[in-house]
């Protein structure tokens, strides 16, 4: 019983420390600045951005694709590891679920920002055509938000009941909220059956829905007949890319949470080692699809596509292209192949590089293609043939990233980041295993 109390003490949410307060305040300030820029964008129109006739999609869309990709972490780590009965997943899944929820919510918000006037979202429903991947996207994103929330919520129920009891004396207000959210969880057999059944259904369902989400995201590009996007390889290319972005984000957040919440005895080096192997696998698959995506066109490309490839390989975007390919993909593979590279600290840096690389990778996918249409647009100023985000775009984009981090921070603050009940059950099982062997 003493161990159980210690477990709850270790894993129950704690108030922000000094760093937590500074961090949250910083995020709020960034969000406010971004919000002011967004209001200004609504007031003046998208003329405040650097998007013009050529680059009609810019940083907002690459940011949206990044969020969609990152949300895939819920499907891969939680669902796949659950269905393959990998018990080491336990301390990691909730953080993955939290990242998934934050990323997919922000993906939805980002696409609204790109529409300039938010009321235009209605047009997507009023004029929806089921042939259009944009309509599929409009359907799949809310669907994935609901699934991600359910995937986070169902396993939380026993923990919310525990926290209800735990905070009864310490903080009755908080306890009441946990009690309300725990849906009268008593751990009865009927409740457990319903909960386990539901989690199993979600775990199965989120995999095809997650793949659908990434596929639709890829089809948004590949169904438009444009250089660099017109590829049958695009959907698996996006799925594998999402695998990399998701695991990269998970490793980074886990490292910080583990350090801040002092969870070293729960999230061990062994977890990082396994996540490292998972990331190597993800990077290798993504590298394979990258080779497919860029090597074959160098043999078969016609003039327009060759110009585009030259821009990427040796031209204007070469530095960025090679940085995201080598820095964000090849280097992580090389480092993580060694056991020392899979230790927590190197893993944190690798995770961070992978996330930054993933973000810029989406920029490299979106922007150069738009600047190389099959038919040059007549009578436009020379400056429209180039694109780099404006200050408004940067402020708003950074604010969306800060909002995602704020959602993660608040959820990490108020929810047990490691499932309490499940950890207790597993430790109990371990004990019974040991006692039965002896």
């Amino acid at each position: 019983m003493k161990n159980y109390d210690k477990l709850i003490n270790d894993l129950a949410p704690r108030k922000f420390g000094k760093i937590g307060v500074i961090w949250t305040s910083l995020l709020i300030v960034i969000i406010i600045i971004g919000f002011v820029a967004y209001i200004d964008q609504i007031r003046k129109g998208q003329v405040v951005t650097n998007m013009r006739d050529y680059a009609l999609w810019g940083i907002y869309i690459s940011n949206f694709v990044f969020f969609v990709a990152t949300s895939f972490v819920g499907s891969i780590t939680v669902a796949i590891l659950r269905l393959t009965n990998n018990t080491w997943r336990t301390p990691l899944v909730r953080i993955a679920e939290i990242i998934s929820v934050a990323a997919i919510i922000m993906a939805g918000i980002t696409i609204m920002i790109d529409m300039a006037r938010p009321d235009r979202i209605l047009n997507l429903f009023i004029h929806a055509r089921l042939q259009s991947p944009i309509t599929w996207d409009v359907i799949i994103i809310p669907t994935y938000i609901v699934i991600s929330l359910l995937l986070l919520y169902f396993p939380l129920l026993p923990d919310l009941a525990i926290l209800n009891k735990y905070f009864k004396e310490k903080s009755p207000k908080l306890s009441k909220r946990y009690g309300f959210l725990s849906l009268n969880w008593s751990g009865s057999k009927a409740q457990k059956i319903l909960q386990e059944k539901s989690i199993k259904i979600i775990a199965i369902m989120i995999i095809p829905v997650g793949i659908l989400l990434q596929t639709i995201d890829a089809w948004l590009f590949s169904t438009t007949y444009r250089i660099g996007w017109d590829s049958t390889n695009f959907a698996p290319y996006f799925i594998s890319g999402a695998f990399v972005a998701g695991v990269g984000a998970l490793i980074t957040v886990i490292y910080i949470v583990r350090r801040v919440k002092k969870l070293e005895s729960y999230i061990t080096d062994s977890h990082f080692d396994k996540l490292g192997k998972l990331l190597v696998l993800a990077c290798l698959i993504y590298l394979y699809f990258n080779i497919n995506e860029y090597l074959i066109p160098t043999f078969t490309a016609k003039k327009g596509e060759l110009i585009h490839l030259d821009t990427l390989f040796t031209g204007h975007y070469a530095t960025l292209f090679w940085l995201v390919t080598i820095g964000g993909l090849v280097v992580p593979i090389l480092v993580l192949l060694f056991k020392k590279g899979r230790k927590p600290l190197p893993m944190f840096f690798i995770g961070l590089i992978v996330v930054i690389g993933s973000w810029w990778k989406r920029y490299v996918i979106v922007t150069p293609t738009l600047l190389h249409p099959f038919l040059p647009i007549q009578g436009v100023p020379e400056s429209w043939r180039h694109y780099f985000p404006s200050l408004h775009e940067w402020l708003i984009t950074v604010a969306t990233l800060a909002m995602a981090l704020l959602i993660i921070t608040l959820l990490v603050r108020y929810l047990p980041v490691i499932p309490i009940q499940r950890t207790a059950d597993e430790q109990e099982l371990l004990k019974t295993d040991k006692s039965s062997k002896s």
Binding site: H127, A128, R129, L130, Q131, W136, I139, T143, V146, I147, L150, Y153, F154, L157, L183, N184, W185, S186, S188, A190, Q191, L194, Q195, K197, S198, I201, I202, M205, V209, L212
Partner: protein
């Protein structure tokens, strides 16, 4: 010193001339009116409209420009009398069409010539102008005939003022097309002694449902103006409509979504959302089943 004085006087005179000319420029500009040139072509379409094709132009700064928004009145000149037929206002291209509802409404002189006068009263920018045109009434009788499996267009040009056929005048035979008519037959098809031409219609000319509209035209004739007869000839090759406008395609509007997309997408949406609703119901069930 003398030279300096001369230079001063010359400069003063030049400056004076420049200032005076600049000062009067506006007044002179306002007083100057441009000439309007009126042009009218008489056009008669058999069993259709009879009209005057009116154009107004002006030479301003050595350039021919179209004159829009001027009112031109049309008169029928008869026995030194001018009977007003109506008026038109030119459009932005300086053109307009005056439809003569019935040719019998206007009077011809003793030689059966119709005399029409166009008159513009003038305005702040343009001087008054007028233009007279004369024409005789003519008629084209056109028919489609088939001889030895070959289709022909025959047409006879008749001078209605004398009720006699017109010999040796060129008639154009052409198939109506969207932008410009497509000429068939010889370059010149002159009417013979009986005032008739006969032109074979080539095979394989495409037409909607195989229907061709063939025009026989007497073009801008000095006496008769333009006379046009239209013949419907179902002798063309039917156009195979390759448009997917009415089909259910991936690029059609939402009311023409392909059936497989409708079924597949809706099944997916209904399937996934049924499960989600079931899961949400499970949450309610959990909250109700304490024991």
């Amino acid at each position: 010193m003398k030279n300096r004085k001369k230079l001063f006087i010359i400069s003063f005179v030049l400056l004076g001339v420049f200032l005076i000319s600049a000062g009067f420029h506006d007044v002179y500009g306002q007083a100057k009116k441009n000439k309007v040139r009126l042009k009218a072509d008489y056009v008669k379409i058999m069993d259709g409209e009879v009209y005057l094709d009116i154009k107004a132009t002006s030479k301003i700064e050595k350039q021919n420009v179209k004159v829009p928004n001027i009112e031109v009145t049309i008169y029928n000149e008869f026995n030194d009398e001018e009977i007003e037929l109506g008026s038109i206002i030119t459009n932005m291209k300086g053109a307009s069409k005056f439809v003569i509802k019935d040719l019998s409404d206007i009077k011809a002189d003793s030689t059966n010539i119709y005399n029409i006068v166009l008159s513009f009263k003038g305005n702040d920018s343009f001087k008054k102008a007028s233009k007279s045109i004369s024409f005789k009434d003519a008629e084209i009788k056109a028919n489609l005939i088939t001889k030895d499996s070959i289709n022909y267009i025959t047409a006879t040009l008749i001078d209605k003022s004398k009720d006699s056929v017109v010999v040796g005048e060129p008639l154009d035979v052409q198939v109506q097309r969207l932008f410009r008519s497509f000429k068939i037959g010889e370059e010149f098809n002159n009417t013979d002694e009986s005032g008739t031409i006969i032109v074979p219609i080539e095979e394989g000319i495409p037409g909607v449902d195989g229907n061709l509209t063939i025009e026989v035209v007497l073009n801008d004739h000095d006496e008769f103006g333009t006379v046009k007869a239209l013949v419907s000839a179902p002798v063309g090759t039917p156009i195979v409509d390759e448009s997917t406008f009415d089909q259910r395609t991936m690029w059609s509007p939402r009311n023409k979504t392909p059936i497989f997309i409708l079924i597949f997408t809706n099944l997916l949406i209904i399937g996934i959302w049924s499960i989600l609703i079931y899961l949400i119901i499970n949450l309610f069930k959990i909250s109700k089943s304490k024991i």
